[in-house]
């Protein structure tokens, strides 16, 4: 099961287009759009009735998006309670190959737009860990601004700070340290001196999706980096990634 998220900011508007169909199958008319947000120590589950929609898509416009709320698809009969102690895997409707994704569009106010096909798999919400991502991969030194937008969704309804780092893989040094929060879409601007091949963004203890946003004269680029395991198709890939992450952990700890 996948969750979908947006991003709220004074400079940009975002929109989600969540399909009502699997990419290899027809529309499921029993599926509805739901949201989850933290309320006290619980997840509050709500059916969304005021989003725009057509036969094929839910269009979640900027006014329904904030940096905490998440969206998912479920049948009404699958939602037993309006408050839950943990996120629930309600169904397998969004477990498809190729992956079930929503189009996540970001628009510069009075400027351009960019999008990527976005999802946050349920299995990622159940795990702790770290994410590594090279800062030079999707950024442009000539851009006016480069950002990392980092979304974490954690199964428990907690808003807990965790550390993020920019590290130099050649010198094994931490160049910058900051704090993000769980269950939030976080943003950090990347200074130009951090846009080098040897510099990596690292999250500590919590997983998430790092999405890079660049802007120049109203034009935008918006795309996520691959997790390292996507570079290996052999059986030993998790062993390789474990070794790589243990080297990273030595730097940040």
């Amino acid at each position: 099961m996948n969750f979908f998220f947006g991003f709220k900011n004074n400079d940009y508007e975002t929109e989600l287009q969540i399909p009502k169909f699997q990419n290899k199958n027809s529309i499921n008319k029993e599926i509805n759009l739901y949201s989850a947000k933290i309320s006290g120590k619980l997840w509050e589950i709500n059916k969304i009735k005021n989003s725009d929609e057509d036969d094929y898509f839910y269009f979640i416009k900027d006014k329904l998006i904030d940096n905490k709320i998440i969206y998912f698809l479920a049948k009404d009969s699958e939602i037993k309670k309006s408050k839950e102690e943990k996120l629930i895997k309600y169904n397998k409707f969004t477990e498809t190959s190729p992956a079930f994704r929503a189009n996540f569009i970001i628009k510069k106010r009075n400027g351009g737009f960019s999008s990527y096909q976005s999802e946050y798999p349920f299995n990622m919400t159940t795990k702790n860990g770290s994410i590594t991502s090279g800062t030079a991969s999707l950024t442009s030194k000539s851009a006016n601004k480069n950002y990392i937008i980092f979304r974490n969704i954690f199964i428990e309804p907690i808003e807990r700070p965790f550390n993020i780092y920019f590290i130099n893989l050649k010198t094994n040094k931490i160049l910058k340290k900051d704090q993000f929060f769980t269950n939030r879409t976080n943003i950090i601007e990347i200074d130009n001196e951090l846009l080098k091949p040897e510099i990596y963004f690292v999250s500590s203890n919590y997983l998430g999706v790092p999405v890079y946003l660049s802007e120049k004269n109203g034009h935008l680029s918006f795309e996520h980096t691959h997790p390292p395991h996507e570079y290996f198709m052999s059986q030993n890939k998790f062993k390789i990634i474990k070794k790589f992450k243990s080297e990273i952990n030595k730097i940040i700890n």
């Binding site: 094929y56 351009g112 030079a136 918006f222 795309e223």
Partner: protein, 258 residues
């Protein structure tokens, strides 16, 4: 009982079983990576130099980053949209992340096509590996900011040590055009939409959508232009065929894989 289970498992993963599953649409297997090793796999990356486009290609030295292998090298092979070989660029002295600009000066052609990247080393310690550098490609029109996408489909491969071609396909195909792929995005309200298809296989692909029918021979690319369409449903004989999408509106451009 255990041996029966093991036999069933072996059969369901056999080549004949995968062909049957895929052609009868029962628990299809999109990719085939079994029993291969010591391979450097490349996606079928797209380049554009037409219509004032240039392409920025970014790739990391994954052999250095993950295996601490120094002095590895890469080779990048460029082809036209009709799969005619254009040129090979070998690159040594790799940085952890590397960038090349693909423009008319580099390829001497204003068009679009595909390219492939392979990593090579003499180091034997990775002979049980299959590496696939997914990389990132930025498309810049009229020298505006590049809009980046990541790699999209496993296509060709070579042996990491011997550099010999490996002839098998990674993306599976079927005998007939039985595979449906609905792109999960609405294409309403754009001035223009271009889809660029690349064939990641060595087989002929038959493709149809929106009353358009066409074929792609081995490793060919094709650009299709559409206007104001909500849903795009692609039928083909390929189990993983995702075009790169260019959406235009008010002099701005959004590029992403589907």
């Amino acid at each position: 009982m255990k041996s029966i289970k093991s036999l069933i498992k072996k059969f369901t993963r056999s080549d004949i079983s995968i062909i049957l599953r895929n052609n009868f649409r029962f628990k299809e297997i999109n990719f085939n990576f079994k029993d291969f090793e010591c391979l450097t796999v490349s996606d079928c990356f797209l380049w554009r130099t037409d219509n004032n486009f240039k392409t920025i290609f970014k790739f990391s030295d994954i052999l250095k980053i993950f295996h601490n292998i120094n002095n590895s090298k890469v080779e990048i092979y460029f082809y036209t949209k009709d799969n005619k070989f254009l040129k090979k660029i070998p690159i040594q002295n790799l940085g952890l992340s590397n960038e090349i600009i693909i423009d008319e000066n580099l390829l001497d052609i204003k068009d679009y096509g595909s390219f492939y990247i392979y990593h090579f080393t003499n180091d034997q310690k990775i002979n049980d590996n299959i590496i696939a550098n997914r990389c990132y490609i930025g498309f810049s029109q009229n020298n505006n900011l590049s809009s980046f996408v990541h790699g999209n489909a496993f296509a060709k491969s070579k042996n990491i040590n011997s550099m010999k071609n490996f002839k098998k396909d990674f993306v599976n195909t079927t005998f007939f055009k039985t595979n449906l792929y609905r792109i999960q995005k609405s294409f309403k309200n754009y001035d223009k939409v271009e889809l660029i298809f690349s064939n990641p296989t060595s087989k002929k692909l038959n493709i149809s959508f929106s009353d358009i029918n066409f074929s792609l021979q081995k490793s060919e690319c094709r650009k299709i232009e559409l206007n104001n369409q909500n849903l795009i449903e692609i039928k083909s004989n390929c189990l993983f065929l995702r075009p790169t999408i260019f959406c235009y509106k008010n002099n701005y451009l959004d590029i992403h894989h589907s």
